[in-house]
């Protein structure tokens, strides 16, 4: 069996190089891989393209990455009112932003996961989001072409992993995590609990092990 369980957070992120494209799970304070983000801060990877719903909550979540100036480009749906460090860097033109409607952000990641090369949607037609995108009329509806969002790594948070990498999530902490797990080349999951292979009911697995490459146990960390 491939050894997926890592002893430490730092080992789990040790090879993430400068310039990496990284997805970060989480929404509304729930399901953020905050322990892995701290490890990535210690590692000091720079020039990251970050794909995440938002851009940090004060010092927490991606806030730490922007505070340390580790991110050069963000792809996000809701940078957020408390993304202080991002907003400073953005105002100073030290970081660029692609703003994407949230469901389309999900679908673009899923397209990457599913080996699809692009899709048409009515979402964003006639808005700033459509700028520079191909537009066409399909079945009488104006649509724009949206492209897959790929990533080198996904840092996600799950509740439970078996040693093989099957994951379950708790309540609404699921959010973006299963999508990102499928979309990235290498998925690293911090989890509250690691159980033996076979301990999760196969019908209750939310993220099958095929999508999970590294697991590390860490007590969930939440920012207000």
């Amino acid at each position: 069996m491939k050894r997926k369980v890592f002893a430490t957070l730092d080992e789990a992120v040790a090879d993430i190089p400068d310039g990496a494209r990284i997805m970060f799970g989480g929404f509304g304070g729930a399901g953020f891989p905050n322990n892995l983000i701290q490890a990535l801060a210690r590692k000091g990877t720079r020039n990251i393209t970050a794909i995440s719903n938002n851009c940090g909550t004060r010092d927490g979540e991606l806030g730490l990455m922007f505070k340390n100036n580790q991110i050069k480009h963000a792809i996000a749906a809701f940078p957020g009112p408390h993304a202080n460090y991002f907003l400073e860097r953005y105002a100073a033109k030290e970081v660029t932003l692609e703003l994407v409607p949230q469901g389309i952000l999900c679908e673009r990641m899923r397209a990457a996961a599913a080996g699809l090369q692009g899709f048409y949607t009515t979402v964003g037609v006639g808005t700033e989001v459509a700028a520079g995108k191909e537009e066409r009329v399909i079945e009488g509806q104006r649509c724009i072409l949206e492209m897959p969002i790929h990533a080198d790594f996904a840092l996600i948070k799950a509740q439970k992993a078996d040693e093989l990498g099957n994951l379950t999530y708790r309540l609404a902490a699921r959010n973006f995590n299963p999508i990102m797990a499928m979309a990235a080349k290498t998925t690293i999951a911090e989890v509250e609990e690691i159980v033996p292979v076979g301990a999760i009911d196969p019908e209750h697995v939310i993220t099958p092990a095929i999508f999970v490459h590294r697991i590390v146990k860490a007590k969930g960390l939440r920012y207000a």
Binding site: G28, L87, I104, V123
Partner: protein, 224 residues
Amino acid sequence: MPDKPRLAREQIAQRAAQELTDGAYVNLGWGIPNLIADYLPAGITVYFHSENGILGMGRRAKPGEEDYDLVDAMKVPVTIIPGASFFHQADAHLMTRGGHLDAAVLGAFQVSEKGDLANWKIPGAKGTGNIGGAMDIAAGAKMLIVCMEHTTKDGSPKIVKECTYPLTALACVNTIVTDLAVMDVKPEGLLLREVAPGWTAEKVQAVTGAALHFKGHVREMSFV
């Protein structure tokens, strides 16, 4: 004679709540819409949807009851009702964009007489604007209700011939509930359905930036 007082935010929510039907699946956006859950007509059950992957949200959590893995799209700890389910963010927006919700209620900066919606960015304001799930919700809603104040704080109309703010989606709004009126977006323009107690169609028209259509006496909004 001075104008009658305008409705409170809670009354806007209360009136909008009457548009919802028993068993409906409904998404509530930021701001006034988020107050609607407290004003459902007696005896009906509405299954509230949250874009982070909840169907069947209940009331907000009471002090001491908070679970920070169970938050709504505004990051507020909530509860669930029997029959609730959890799913990932892509499936949450499959529901919004795919037309599965019976209704969505959003806040707005501007709505045009054609039902164009602007609700994610104020021109000239600091920051980047926040799209979040609004574009997917607006594009996909079977019935889109907007709840907002009828005018800005300085008295400018928010209901306009053409939106001047960045758009969320074209021709998406079905009904507008404000502190002065209830209006439906129809092919011929805005149909004034009800006015706030003590207001007249003419007085509402005077603070509206687009023509309101109505025939004879316009009914007063009621809150039962």
